[in-house]
Point group: C2
Chain length 338, copies 2
Amino acid sequence: MNLKEFAAHIGLSQTTVSRALGGYPEVRPATRERVLKAAAEFGYQPNISAQRLATGRAGAIGLVFQGDGRFGPHASEFLGGLSGRLQTDGMDILVATVETQEAELAAYRRFAASRRVDAVIVHTPTLRDRRIALLQELDLPFVVHGRSAAARPFAYLDIDNYGAIAAAARHLLDLGHRRIALINGYVENTYARDREQGFRDALEGAGIRPPPTLLAYGAFTDEAGFRTMQRFLALPEPPTAVIAGSMMSALGAMRAVRIAGLSVGRDISLVAHDDVFPYLSPDNLVPTVSTTRSPMRAAGERMADMVLKLLQGTPPEALQEVWPVELVIRRSTERAPE
Amino acid sequence: MNLKEFAAHIGLSQTTVSRALGGYPEVRPATRERVLKAAAEFGYQPNISAQRLATGRAGAIGLVFQGDGRFGPHASEFLGGLSGRLQTDGMDILVATVETQEAELAAYRRFAASRRVDAVIVHTPTLRDRRIALLQELDLPFVVHGRSAAARPFAYLDIDNYGAIAAAARHLLDLGHRRIALINGYVENTYARDREQGFRDALEGAGIRPPPTLLAYGAFTDEAGFRTMQRFLALPEPPTAVIAGSMMSALGAMRAVRIAGLSVGRDISLVAHDDVFPYLSPDNLVPTVSTTRSPMRAAGERMADMVLKLLQGTPPEALQEVWPVELVIRRSTERAPE
DNA sequence: CTGAAAGCGCTTACAG
DNA sequence: CTGAAAGCGCTTACAG
C-alpha cells in the first residue's frame, strides 16, 4: 500500500497524512491520532526510497572496515553501540569492507557521488589520515574515532590513550618494576603513538629509557600477544611487567607466561587495556587482570549522537571529545620480584 | 550533478545516458564509450535513492544481530565474507542490532513495509524459528545460515554439524577416551542439537551413554569455556577429553586445564570447532589444537551468492546447501591416560 | 540506435 | 488546520 491509496482509504489528502506521520505540528491532534491508528492497522509505512529522494537525505551512515584482521571483536562492540543509538532515529548503518586503503577512499567517493549515506564514521586514524582530507574535500560529513592532523577542524571522539598508558606505567613503577614492556598497536596509528608517548614519559619520569626490544607493535590479537610475550621472555633481560594493548593481546601474553613456567602477577605483572567485551571480563581471568578501562560500546553510542548532531548543523569543532580512561587495579600487578 | 545536467552536458538524452551507464545492449558501442568516459571525468554517479524508487529495488540486504554477547567475532567474519561478495554487485549491507527476539521480528516487518532491503539473512536459527515463518508470511526473500523446520521450503546454507562432532568424538574414542565432554552452544539452536546428536550417536556406537554432567550449553566465549572446563574438572570423574564448540571456548578451556596443573594433550585431549578466525589459528596454540574446520568467512561469501541468485528468481528449494566439515588432527589430542 | 514523456512514492512551498 | 500540485532524479515502455 502506498501513500495515495492509504490517504484515500482514510479520506484525507496525502499532504495531511504525510505531515501526521512525520510529526509536523500543523496537524490537529485528533487527525494525527486517526492517521497513526490507521497506519498501524493497515501496516502502512512510507517507502523509504521515495522518502529519501524527496527529502534529499539518505537516512543512513556508512562504516567501512578494512578486511581481515582488523575487523575483529573491537569492531563488533563499536558497531553494536552505534547501531543501538542510530536505530531510535531511524538511521540505517551501511557496512562495507575493503581490502586496501585505496579501496576505502574509493568507497567514500562512491558514497558521496551516489548520495548513499549522509555521513560516515572513520576509525583508527593515522597521524595524518588521507581519509580525512578526502572527506573534507568531498564535503561528506564524518566523525572520527580517534585523532589526526588535518587542515580544517573535524568532529572526533577519542580516549585519552596517552594518560591511560602513562597511568598504567606509573602504577607498575610504583610497584618497583624497572623493566616494563609495551605491546602496542600498529605503529602508524595515532593511538599507538599516543600510548607510546605516555609510556615513555612515565618511564622517563622515573629516570628510565625503555629499550627498543621492550616495545612491540602489531595486531591486538591473542596470537600476536602470545608471540610477542614469548619474544620478551627470551631476552637476556626479560621484563618483569608488561602493558598489553588489548584484552586479546593479554590472553595470548598470559598463555606465553604460563607456558614458560612463570606466573602472572608473581613473576610477570600485567596491565591490559580493556575495551569491555561482554564475553571477556578481566574479573573472570585467573588472576584477575589490572586494566585501563574504556568501553568500546559506549564510544559507539556516543559517536551515533555526534553524527546526528553534526547532521543537524552543529559545527565539527563543537564535536570534539576526549574521554578519560580509568585504571582498575586487580591481582595481575604485584610488587616487582627481587 | 544529476542525470539531466550530465546528459545535457554531453549532448545526449537522459534515456541514452541511463542505458549506457546501466549496461543495456541497445546503445551503440561508441556512444557507450563516450558516456562512460564523461561520467568518470565529471564524477557523475546516479542518485541511489532515485534509482531505487524508479526500479523498485532497494539494492541492499539486511542483517539483524541480537545485541551483546551474540554479536562477536563469528559475526565479524561472516559479515566480512558477505560484504566482500555483495560489493561487487553494488549491493549494500544494512546492519541493525536488537535486544530481543520481538524486536528482531519488528525489524523485519519494518524492512518489508518500508522496502528498505530486498532480502535478509537469518542466522543461528532455532529448531522451529519464528523469523522464518514471519519472513515467509511477509514475502520478504531470505537465506538462512543454518537449518530449521518450516511450512514451506526456504534457502539455506549450513555446515554438517552432526558429522563434524561425530567425527571428532570418534577420533577421541579411537584414542581410547571413554569420558568425553561436549561444550555446546545454546540449547535452543538447531546447530547445537545437531552437534549433540552427532556426539551421542558416536559415543553410543562405542557403547557409551554420555552422562548429563559432561554436556554443557552456552555462549562460545573464552569465559564460558573457562568456567565450563573448571566445572568438568571438579567432577568426581572428570573427562579425559573435551570437544569445544569454538576456538574461543577452547582458549578458555585450555586456560582452566593449565590452571588446574594439568596438560592439554597429555592429561586432557581437546578438539575444537574452528570457524577460522584470521587472528586465532589452532596451529599457533601450544599445543596445536585438533579441529573440525569450516571457515565462517567462506560461508558469508557463499551466502552472498545465494541471496543474489534468490533475487534473480532461483527458487529457494534449489538453494539449499550443507557443507562437509574437515577434521584436522594436531597435537592436542593424544591417547587417553591409563 | 536514440529520445520524449510517464511514472516510481514521497515531501513541502504555496494557497486557502 | 487542510489540500492540490510541483518536484526530487532516476528508469523504461513506447514511438520513431
